[in-house]
């Protein structure tokens, strides 16, 4: 599943470590999410949405409907 994590992070001038700290995960997990190696669990997806103050659908792109 594609996502806009890297773009959203860059807009706020956050490093991967900054975002990882905000989400309570490792920097490697943030990297894995941004490079598409891993899709987050629902709780983590909701945490990501809260951190960016955006709905989940605007962060993660449902490739099955596009």
């Amino acid at each position: 599943m594609k996502n806009r994590l890297k773009v959203l992070r860059a807009e706020r001038d956050w490093s991967q470590a900054d975002l990882a700290g905000a989400l309570g995960v490792s920097r490697q997990t943030v990297n894995a999410l941004e490079t598409g190696r891993y899709d987050p669990s629902l709780p983590l997806a909701f945490r990501i949405a809260r951190v960016f103050s955006l709905p989940i659908e605007s962060i993660f792109l449902d490739t099955e409907t596009t």
Binding site: M1, G24, V25, S26, Q28, T29, A32, L33, T35, G36, R37, Y38, D39, P40, S41, L44
Partner: protein
């Protein structure tokens, strides 16, 4: 430092150190067990069981400290790395069964007894699985993409 704040890699390092220590203990135990009394053997068994339980606890603490991507990497690696590693093993087993003239391999230093052949086979399986898991784990973190 509270238990929950200890980094995952420290739990893994402790587990590895314990495994090395346990291996050493078992090595010493096996060398002295032939002349040991029943009480001494029971003591060695208790120590081994205790260290094994400690190892399980360390593994649980390590797993609890991992975040979800790291857990996914481990699970993916064990499944794919482990299964693919079985393929050369199965080929080897088939060759050994069908072509007995090749002779069964034996771990260096071991006497040619049935038990030691079983040990050699077990070590081959363990090393193959660990190698397969290691390659898969590296692949997941370095190259895998959807």
């Amino acid at each position: 430092m509270t238990v929950s704040r200890i980094a995952p890699w420290r739990w893994l390092a402790a587990l590895f150190a314990l495994a090395v220590g346990l291996g050493g203990l078992l090595g010493v135990a096996s060398s002295v067990s032939r002349g040991a009394s029943l009480g001494a053997l029971a003591l060695m068994a208790l120590a081994t069981a205790g260290l094994t339980a400690l190892g399980v606890w360390l593994a649980v603490m390590y797993w609890r400290r991992l975040d979800e991507a790291a857990r996914e990497a481990h699970k993916w690696s064990w499944f794919w790395g482990g299964n693919i590693a079985l393929i050369p093993l199965l080929v080897g087993f088939f060759v050994l069964v069908e072509r007995p003239e090749f002779g069964a391999p034996l771990w260096p230093g071991l006497e040619a007894t049935p038990g030691n052949y079983v040990v050699t086979g077990g070590l081959a399986v363990a090393f193959a699985l660990m190698a397969g898991y290691g390659v898969a784990w590296l692949y997941w973190w370095l190259w895998k993409s959807r």
